[in-house]
Subunit: 402 residues, 2 copies
């Protein structure tokens, strides 16, 4: 019943040459992993001499499918690795350019690659990073261009009077130009924080590169923490090293949207911003899409552009008792938002996204009301690979008359 497909593994590293000599054991510190083989193949290796099973897990497996019992092709969740003298390895071919995450599952234990120091946290999950270069995704890595500054700032929230951490991107030239800049407010999803777009989203690199290429207008980008009852990313708030949590109180109950004008006021007070609606945009992914949709709908005077990336367009009812008036009458509020000085409205989602149907219904409402929006339907699901692309697609549309 188990079908299999074939993947070629290259065993050409110098240290394999020593295997002929029994006295010379492989040295874990000589193992290279990951190792790029050409443009699109990567070999993964881990020294686990006593393991009975090692799997490669993570979204590096994303483009691999195999035939299932039902006669259809199914995506795989892991790739089996092969043992030779304690070194487990596998080569993935035809990896499309992207920033991938992976780790190993060694006899059931999740393990980051001991030979790859590049790790990234997604909510409470730490994985290794792997970059396969090419095309658009080269924007994810720094190039030798003029760089913006990333400022870790703090603002006072009217929610419990908390000092809250906020990431502010200032474009190259900000310090010396004397000019005022338009502002994009960019929000993370559930379980994320003010570092999600800079770490997983590579927003600083994308902005630096696309601004340098003249594809994106110089702008300030403000990435705030949507968990309004928390001050900051875990480790930088007063909860010391508490573990990151997917569900946090007051994260999707309307309190964040309600207090959002605090953030705009703080940013407009401190940085050289253009303060009119057409110079201000808000976008977010998943729950950040919810935050963007409802903040912009409840404060229609604030934002001249709205980006919904795999957005939760309906309230997230994980704590029904906490739903606030912020989420009432969505459609009426959106209609009002478009009645006067309509914003640029951008919706992007993947066909495999679990929020696809709710977005489809929301778009049906927009269509019925003849409310104009830009729609970017892609492959894939609810994943950073899409969100980075949506950001790259959205940014050039902003502030084009400056």
């Amino acid at each position: 019943m188990k079908k299999s497909s074939c993947i070629f593994v290259s065993l050409v590293l110098p240290f394999f040459a020593s295997f002929a000599q029994e006295s010379i054991m492989p040295q874990p510190n000589q193992i290279v992993s990951p190792e790029a083989i050409g443009d699109s193949s990567v070999t993964f290796r881990v020294y686990a001499p006593k393991a009975s099973e090692v799997l490669l897990i993570g979204n590096v497996n994303r483009n691999i499918s195999q035939l299932g019992e039902d006669g259809k092709m199914h995506k795989v969740q892991f790739t089996r690795m092969f043992n030779q003298d304690g070194i487990w390895s596998v080569t993935l071919d035809s990896l499309k350019p992207d920033l991938y995450t992976y780790k190993f599952l060694i006899d059931g234990v999740e393990t980051v690659d001991p030979r790859n120091a590049h790790v990234v946290r997604d909510v409470n999950n730490v994985s290794n990073m792997l970059f396969v270069s090419g095309g658009d995704v080269d924007n994810y890595m720094p190039r030798n261009v003029a760089h913006g500054n990333l400022v870790t700032d703090w603002y006072r929230s009217s929610f419990n009077g908390l000092e809250r951490r906020i990431s502010v991107y200032l474009p190259s030239g900000y310090a010396t130009s004397g000019k005022k800049y338009p502002v994009l407010y960019l929000q993370h999803g559930m379980g994320g924080d003010e570092t999600s777009w800079t770490e997983l989203g590579r927003a600083v690199e994308i902005l630096d590169n696309m601004i340098a290429d003249g594809k994106v207008k110089p702008m300030i980008v403000v990435m705030s923490n949507g968990n309004v009852a928390r001050e900051a990313v875990p480790g930088k708030d007063s909860h010391a090293l508490a573990q990151p949590d997917f569900y946090l109180p007051h994260t999707a109950d309307g309190e964040f949207e309600k207090q959002f004008p605090d953030i705009v006021k703080y940013i407009d007070g401190k940085y050289r911003t253009l303060k009119d609606k057409r110079s201000r945009a808000m976008a977010g992914l998943s729950m950040g899409g919810l935050h963007s949709l409802f903040t912009s709908a409840n404060y229609p005077e604030l934002f001249g552009a709205v980006g919904l990336f795999s957005a939760a367009v309906d309230p997230i009812r994980y704590d029904e008792s906490k739903i606030s008036e912020i989420y009432f009458d969505r459609n009426a509020k959106v209609k009002r938002q478009f009645a006067d000085n309509a914003p640029l409205y951008y919706i992007a989602i993947g066909t495999d996204d679990f929020l696809y149907d709710s977005n489809k219904k929301f778009r049906a409402f927009l269509d019925a009301e003849k409310i104009p929006y830009i729609y970017n339907e892609t492959d894939g699901g609810h994943e950073w690979s899409n969100w980075r692309h949506y950001l790259m697609d959205f940014l050039p549309r902003l502030f084009t008359d400056f």
Copy 2:
């Protein structure tokens, strides 16, 4: 010569599906690790049902000794963990307040704790973080105080014309005070970068807390990358996701010290700094101590205070041919440095540090020349636990007449 083999790729299966049928089996996602037991005991746990040996490694073991065959007490490098139903655990008692690092060695494979999302990189080694609170080390964690800003900035270096990344701490109130501030230049050790003091050193939290407590004067702190031929920390430079390296070209050959005035000029040009010698300090750990010693000795007009934390006081001769005139005539240069407008000179080192003897010789020279310095001799060796304490001891001594 290329070998190839076939790899089985299996269909999607929930990894732990089989456990669901046996309700008594532990669920990996229910394991808590690390778990604080009271003030100073911590239990570590990992689910590794097939493992034959699991060790707890990292500096959590630092204060544990055991009797050796020689009848003497020896420090241990690891603690053995005990298996019960596939869950390996051990409790460490009497952990002194500190920020520790640890991970597991499962049948020889280094593994970060799958239940602890707080990880930190030291050169090319990723470990979990564990915080045991109490006393001075509470300064390592954010408190509800006024926070400074951390700016990730870039300056143009005269070394190869590189744009180089630099971390700049601006104290709370900087944006609105209109005041000018003194500046501390704070350097990392070999294998480190412009993020070492903020990540491993907890410099932002230490500064925020000690400034809020009135123990340290508000100051700007500039943390630059001592690897002068590199632009930035791995992952943020043009080498994409190259692995971090302990030895980098031009890291300890005098080029960094030579171009250091570029950094001072950039900071003085952009930020509201006090520009006289008595308002400027330089300090660093290990190789950063070398950089501080020789930058201040070669440019005696620049720094009114110098901090040498576990410093390499002699040139690091890993590439003999590259030793520059920056490192010539150290003692004569230091004598000249003290001849006129002598700086505050601070030396701190642990008795177990491998650089203890070279520091002792350097101090013998200072003593013979009646050159005054503050000396802080501590327990321990070449480790962040000491460097954070040295920073906390050094900071209150700076800029005290402001």
